[in-house]
Subunit: 180 residues, 2 copies
DNA sequence: TTTTGTATAGTCAACGTTGAATATTATTTG
DNA sequence: CAAATAATATTCAACGTTGACTATACAAAA
């Protein structure tokens, strides 16, 4: 996934690893992709060996230098392969850490569980609102392509599904505590 | 997550790495947790060094031997810490590979994209049905605790949300192709 | 103008995951 | 009963991720 992201970004013109990192932050794709700088540089080094990318130039600023990478023809082939792959594999993702925690809920006091869930709810709610706000801004710069619209809506659906699940969990824990 | 799973399993009595692997498969938790044998053995070795688990005994079957691990008191403390952690961190998960593929959809022919999505739809549909079937079986062994019920329902919601998203994507790609 | 802070640009060791490989025992099939 | 197949039990090298660390350049404040 990191590899596809890197190749995809380079497909719109040469750039440095640092620029990629900045771009991912601007596009909010750090929210769902979570690609850290280290992974970008690693992917660049690796794909340079494999001849999928190459250094186009090295820009100097005083004593500091940055490497500008470019995608190669065989890199473009690889990119197409990765796109098809990423569409065909199962991308379904479950909140695995939460499920694991739930499996062993009985081993901690109900109060602690509720407090922990409240922390998560707060964090997700904040992310959700930031995303909604960030998108309203974009809305004003003309309307988005239908597919982008669909993807954003899907992200919102995920936030809503997850928040609703967390709330139900909390209620059930509280209900059960009252029961005893 | 692997660590919590391992400690949690050991909390119900000593067992071997191989038994853990089998148990995860039986509980369908391989569906959402996706913990491979290698990770289990690695976690056991690591946590043995950290004194969270220890070898309770070594069983021999002819020439082959298996190690039975047991959780230690400090392992139980660690487990509680990990439970709280897993409930408090943000567990929201997006279908990142799919989103990445979508971002670069324009670089492959629409037909290939649709074919790839169809593959994914087939796979997910199959998983979804297997899960539904597997659960009907359990249903008959008395009803499940409310929290388990909630978690299963959440898994179904995830399957349905994802399938619906994939269908919408397909439609939009087809619509756009017709448009030209 | 020096210091403080922040943006730029990247490296690297430690860590966990993956999947192929290994080796032994148990079971089925011809 | 021999051969093939499956189940048991684990190892390990290759790989990617993480996050802390380094180091330079630039801007702002004191």
């Amino acid at each position: 996934m990191t590899r596809l992201m890197v190749l995809g970004l380079l497909r719109n013109g040469p750039m440095s690893g640092y620029q990629m990192h900045q771009m991912l932050q601007m596009l909010q794709s750090d929210k769902w992709a979570g690609i850290l700088p280290g992974s970008i540089y690693h992917a660049l080094k690796k794909m340079e060996q494999e001849k999928f990318v190459e250094i186009a130039s090295v820009e100097q600023t005083g004593n500091r230098s940055k490497a500008i990478y470019r995608i190669t023809p065989s890199g473009e082939q690889e990119m197409k392969k990765l796109i098809t792959e990423s569409l065909s594999i199962s991308s379904i993702a479950f909140p695995a850490p939460l499920y694991t925690g739930i499996s062993f809920l009985a081993w901690i006091p109900a109060d602690e569980a509720v407090a922990a869930l409240d922390q998560q709810i707060a964090k997700i709610t904040k992310d959700y609102e930031e995303m909604k706000y960030g998108e309203e801004q974009k809305q004003q710069e003309g309307d988005l392509p239908a597919i982008v619209r669909l993807s954003f809506d899907n992200m919102y659906d995920h936030y809503e599904l997850h928040l609703s699940f967390l709330q139900k969990l909390k209620s059930e824990i509280v209900r059960k505590r009252e029961e005893d």
